[in-house]
Symmetry: C2
C-alpha cells in the first residue's frame, strides 16, 4: 500500500528497527514470518493512539511513539506474555511527517532496546488527519498459562501494582486544568502520563498465581468493573487503601473534598499498572514475588459474589461513595 | 484503551466476529492467544486504509471494511500463507460511528465467511479524524515455504495472475475523472476498485515453484521494480503482453495515445493480482496449476541481470517507453 515516498521512508527510517527480527527481512517484504517454540502460544493485542486524544497535540514524537508501543506491552503484561515484536500502522498529517519522523524512530529504537522487541512490518500513510499510531504487539507464553480477565472468583483479593492516579494528574496538567504548586511533583505526574511503565515482569511472575488480571488503562474503578463483570462477580474497594505516590498524596492533601478527589484518582486513566484477582492463600507469596522485582503491591479490595442490586461497594473512611460518582452507571 | 461507549460498541458489534476464534475469548480480553501446529510458521502483515485516500469519502461501510481486510489477505497471498485471523484498529469520525457501524460489521462478517478468518481483537477510537481502518492479518504456512520478494533470479519469467488496470479505471470513475460510454464496463471497473480478490489459492499453489512473489497494490510496473530491486536485478516488460479484461481493452481502444494509456494501466494501483518470478522450466507446470484454479496467468516479461545504466526496459510494439513515463525515476 505504500506509495513511492512512503516506501523510501519505510526503507530508510523504519528498516533498521526490524534488524534481527527473524523473518522480517528488513521490511523489504510487506509481511514477516514468525516462529514459536514447542508448546508456546502467541499473544496478540492491538491498540491505537491518536494525537489530541491519547496524547497532547504537539507531544514529543519519541514519547508518543514509546507510549503507543508501551500501552500495547501493558496489555501483553496483563496476559502474562513476554513481548517480542510488533507491527505499525501510522497515519501522518500531511505537513507533519518530516518534523516527527526522526524522533518517532529514535523513540521506538530506544524502547525496542528496553523491552527486547522488534518491528515486524507495517504501513505508513500520509493523509489529512491527525497523527495516529496503530500498534499490534506480539508476545510468547507457554500453552495454558495465559492470564485472563474472566477467571476471578468470589473472595479473591483485588491487588494493584505500583501507584494509582499520577498519570491522571499528568493529563490534567497537559490540559492546563490545574497549576501545580510543586514543580518536581508536576514533572512526575507528567512523566507518568507521557511514558507508562508496562508491568511485564509482574505479569510473567503472577502466571499461575493470580486467577485474573487486567491492565489499568481506563482507571482503577473502571477496570475493576470489567474484571468483575466478565467474571460474573461484584467487588468492594476501599479508596483509603489505594496506593498513592508521595506527590499524589501531597496533591490529595490540598483538595477541599478528599472523597471526591480520591475517587477522581481511582477513575482517571493511563496508570498502566496491573489489577490482579488473587486467592487469599497466595497473597503472601505473590507479594514476596513482586517485591523481589521491586514492584510494590497493595490490596485495595476484593471480589464478591454478585448480588443483583448492589454489585459494587466503594467506600472511603467507612462512607459509601454513591454510584453516580464512580464513572459508570451500569454494571 | 476503549472508553465506556467504545467498550459497549466492541462488545455488542464486534464480539460476534470473534466467535470461534481460538483464544480470542469473545473480545472480553484486550488480546488473544493463538496457536500454531508443529512445523508451522506465522505470517503477519499490516495495512491501513484511510477514507478519502484509499477509498472514496462516503464509500459503503461494508465495502470499505472488506477492502481493508482483503488488501491484507492479498499480502498474505503473496507470502504463500493461508489466512486465519486479523486484528483491527479503527478510528471513527466523531459524527460517523452510528451510520457506519452496522455495515462495517456486516461486511467483515461476510468476508470472514468467504476467507475463513476470524477477528482476534482490536481497538476502536472516536476522534476528529477521517475514518481509518488498520488491519494486521495472520496466516499460517509450513516452515521454510514462505514466498519472498527478493529471491528472483536473472532469466526468471515475470508472470501476472488475472488482469491488470480495471481497478485503476475504477478509481478514475470514483474521482469523476472520466465518464464511461459503457455502463456494464464501468460497473466492473468500480467493483474491482472497491473489492479486490486476493489471490490466496494462487499464493498457496505457487509455493516452492515461484522464486519470488509480490502482490500488485501500487501498479504492475512499480511492483516489478520492487521485486527486481530487492532481488538485485533489472527487468524487461512488454506492455503488449499485459493481460487486460475485455472492458479494459474496449477502454484502451478508445484512447488517442495507446502507448500512454497502456502505461497508465500498468502504473495504476489496486489490482491485487500476484506478480511472480518463475524459472522457465517451471512455467508450463505453473500455468497448468493456476488454470486448474481458473486463474489466468500471463507472462509479461522477465528478470534481467542488472545493468548499471539500464536496469528497466519497458516496450510497447517494439518501441521503448521512456523512464520518465514509468512512474518512478530512480531504480
Amino acid at each position: 500500500m505504500a506509495g513511492p515516498g512512503e516506501f523510501e521512508f519505510i526503507r530508510s527510517k523504519l528498516a533498521p528497527l526490524s534488524a534481527g527480527a527473524f523473518g522480517a527481512a528488513d521490511l523489504t517484504d510487506d509481511g514477516a514470518v514468525l516462529d514459536l517454540g514447542p508448546g508456546e502460544r502467541l499473544a496478540v493485542t492491538a491498540d491505537t493512539l491518536v494525537e489530541g486524544r491519547h496524547f497532547p497535540i504537539g507531544e514529543d514524537a519519541g514519547l508518543a511513539a514509546r507510549k503507543a508501543l508501551r500501552v500495547n506491552l501493558s496489555d501483553l503484561a496483563a496476559m502474562g506474555a513476554k513481548p517480542f515484536g510488533y507491527t505499525l500502522g501510522v497515519i501522518w498529517p500531511r505537513d507533519g511527517v518530516q518534523e516527527r519522523a526522526d524522533g518517532f524512530v529514535a523513540g521506538l529504537a530506544q524502547d525496542q532496546a528496553v523491552f527486547g522487541v522488534r518491528l515486524f512490518g507495517g504501513d505508513t500513510v500520509v493523509a489529512d488527519a491527525p497523527w495516529s499510531i496503530a500498534v499490534t504487539a506480539f508476545g510468547r507464553l507457554p500453552a495454558g498459562s495465559s492470564l485472563r480477565r474472566n477467571r476471578a472468583r468470589a473472595g479473591d483479593a483485588l491487588i494493584v501494582t505500583g501507584t494509582i492516579g499520577d498519570a491522571g494528574l499528568g493529563l490534567q496538567l497537559a490540559l492546563g486544568e490545574y497549576s501545580p504548586s510543586n514543580t518536581a511533583d508536576a514533572d512526575q505526574f507528567r512523566r507518568r502520563f507521557q511514558l507508562p511503565e508496562p508491568r511485564i515482569g509482574s505479569g510473567l511472575a503472577v502466571r499461575g498465581v493470580a486467577h485474573a488480571a487486567i491492565d489499568i488503562s481506563d482507571g482503577l474503578l473502571s477496570e475493576a468493573r470489567h474484571l468483575a463483570v466478565e467474571s460474573g462477580l461484584g467487588f468492594e474497594i476501599d479508596l483509603e487503601q489505594i496506593p498513592l505516590s508521595a506527590p499524589a498524596r501531597r496533591w490529595l492533601d490540598l483538595q477541599p473534598d478528599r472523597a471526591s478527589a480520591i475517587t477522581q484518582l481511582a477513575s482517571s486513566g493511563d496508570d498502566y499498572e496491573l489489577l490482579l484477582a488473587v486467592p487469599s492463600r497466595k497473597l503472601a507469596g505473590l507479594s514476596h514475588l513482586l517485591r523481589q522485582q521491586e514492584v510494590p503491591v497493595t490490596q485495595v479490595g476484593q471480589l464478591t459474589a454478585r448480588d443483583g442490586d448492589d454489585p459494587v461497594i466503594v467506600t472511603w473512611k467507612g462512607r459509601r461513595i454513591e454510584a453516580e460518582h464512580l464513572g459508570f452507571t451500569q454494571f
